[in-house]
Amino acid sequence: MSTRKLPLGAVSLVLAFGAGAALADGPNLGKPISPAELAPWDITIMPDGTGLPAGSGTPAQGAPVYAQKCAACHGENGRGGGIAAGVIGGPPRATLDGGKTIPNFWPYATTVFDFIRRAMPYQQPGSLTNQEVYALTAYILAGNKLIAENDVMDAQTLPKVKMPNRDNFIIRFPERI
């Protein structure tokens, strides 16, 4: 039962989406946290090397770590053939038929470190020490002839590695950056 009466000149306030909304006088239920407490989650490595931890590694140190923890999926000597793609070698140019590799496509070497540390090995991500990640990074970069066999990868040297395909990108929608 609802009584009918003069239709109200009510303006209903319609909540549109697509609008940023913050309530200065809002819930403010976010709890402050210090950088120190954040550290375990703050694992992003920036292209300029920001975030790279202490430690270092050489290709030679990386080889045994690779054999023990990576070869099962990525194949002997990083050549693939397992259930995952290879990490060393591959076609000279990346094409639509496949073959985006670290040497022929990845623009930054720091991404190799970041991804290995955060996501590898697949079943126990985050289980590698920083030393092991530097060593594996060095091993892969050397395997792809991007650094010399006895170069040492650390927080200073890794960002300086010049990846061949770095300047080969176009921003699709500049106005959206």
Partner: protein
């Protein structure tokens, strides 16, 4: 990829459509109350035989089953499922595709929403989960789910589409696959949650900040760099999907939702947003979601899912049993905003008719288009082409391939030669009513 076109005349397709598509004015009026016109023209099926006498089905003569707390589809619909490409959870990505050919309307039911996981589906305890906002902010903050539940929320219907959806159409030869295999990595739901800007502004944004590094709590800790501008626009920390809490495959207990942006950026299991001046160039934005061009260069930061449409019925795998009236139906959507027009052709693009759009037409959401079609039994090629309110429109496949390239040999249908394919899809109907996937 939207190419600029100056002259309009050359592009506007011929409106009166051939091959059984009625003049669009036929769509406008309400059917005439033809109490009197039972002409043979509207004869029943070819056989014309009267229906046999009606008899009670067995289900009408017995008490039915008991209602369950969480109801599921009829056993006669058990084929309406997602196709999964990693059923044994082998250590690699796993994807589940939405069966568009079996669905209707614009809402994808939660059980059938597409899923891509890069480290399996995590089993996250919502009471332990935390969302941290830090970096170039005045005060780094941590939010619990209980806290977010008290914030002002918004609800919005919108699609999520993988940047690599429709990738099989980069194949140089049309793969004989159905619409689920070709376009199954896109779905549409009503998302409810807290606008990200609400939380960013509570943390206090440092004017130097230009990017947000958004990271998930899944095993690969998937992270993507998102322009801060998008964060302050319509980005949402989504908590509900079609009314209930988000499904595990869509990011339970919370995900980032960037209406109109490629799926991978809509980080699932969101646990961290770090404001920075520069993008992190994660493996996903520097390698995976960076599309190679024929000239050897590659796109970066594509972000936007551009205007796209495909016919879901009739389509490959749904044979037409007899000539007569059919409804051509499909979905159109654009990351730029609302769909303004969808044209349908039954003769491979020689002539077009404007389809009806089901209202309400919402921005950055699926829009259902419908076109009645009288199939005369002869061969036909069905195509749909969409325009959005930004003036963008779907390119023909030829124009698209000229700009973006294609493979030199047919890839596996579950492969991703490249991403951001939004050209026209064509279905060829033969005289027996079988539907093939073709390039036309």
């Amino acid at each position: 990829m939207a190419s600029k076109q100056s002259s309009r005349r050359s592009q506007e397709p011929e409106v009166v459509a051939g091959n059984g598509l009625p003049d669009r004015r036929a769509l406008l009026g309400r059917g005439i109350m033809f109490a009197g016109t039972m002409g043979t023209g509207l004869g029943g099926s070819l056989t014309g035989a009267a229906a046999e006498p009606l008899v009670d089905g067995p289900w009408s003569n017995e008490v039915g089953a008991v209602i369950q707390p969480y109801q599921t589809a009829s056993r006669f619909e058990k084929n309406v499922v997602r196709t999964v490409d990693n059923p044994d959870n082998v250590p690699r990505n796993s994807r589940a595709r939405t069966p568009h050919q079996l669905l209707n309307g614009i809402i994808t039911p939660n059980g059938l929403h597409f899923t891509i996981c890069h480290g399996g589906v995590p089993d996250i305890d919502p009471d332990q989960h935390r969302l941290v906002i830090h970096g170039l902010v005045k005060r780094p903050l941590v939010f619990t789910l209980d806290a977010l539940a008290r914030y002002p929320m918004v609800s919005r219907i919108g699609f999520v589409e993988c940047g690599g959806n429709s990738a099989p159409l980069f194949s140089n030869i049309a793969l004989q696959e159905n619409v689920q295999a070709l376009h199954g990595l896109a779905s549409c739901a009503e998302w409810s949650g807290v606008l990200l800007s609400t939380l960013l502004e509570e943390a206090g944004i440092d004017p130097k900040a230009k990017w947000m590094i958004c990271e998930g709590a899944d095993s690969p800790r998937l992270h993507r760099s998102v322009p801060l501008a998008k964060g302050l626009d319509d980005a949402m920390v989504a908590l509900y999907q079609n009314g209930e809490r988000i499904q595990p495959g869509q990011g339970y207990p919370m995900r980032l939702w960037l209406p109109g942006y490629e799926g991978n950026m809509n980080v699932k299991y969101l646990r961290r947003v770090m404001l920075t001046e520069e993008p992190a160039m994660s493996v996903y934005e520097s390698r995976t979601y960076s599309q190679i061009l024929p000239n050897g260069k590659a796109y970066r930061f594509y972000f936007l899912q551009e205007v796209k449409s495909f016919i879901s019925r009739p389509s490959h795998g749904l044979a037409l049993r007899e000539p007569g009236i059919y409804e051509i139906s499909g979905v159109a959507y654009s990351g730029t905003g609302r769909i303004t027009k969808v044209m349908v052709s039954a003769d491979g693009g020689q002539s077009w008719a404007q389809a009806a759009l089901q209202d309400p037409v919402l921005p950055k959401a699926f829009t259902r288009f419908r076109m009645p079609w009288r199939w005369d039994g002869g061969p036909a090629i069905l195509q749909s082409r969409a325009w959005d309110e930004g003036g963008n429109f779907q390119p023909t496949r030829a124009d698209f391939v000229a700009m973006r390239g294609q493979t030199t040999r047919p890839p596996p249908v579950t492969g991703f030669p490249s991403q951001h394919f939004n050209a026209i899809t064509s279905w060829a109907v033969d005289a027996k009513g079988e539907v093939k996937h073709v390039y036309a």
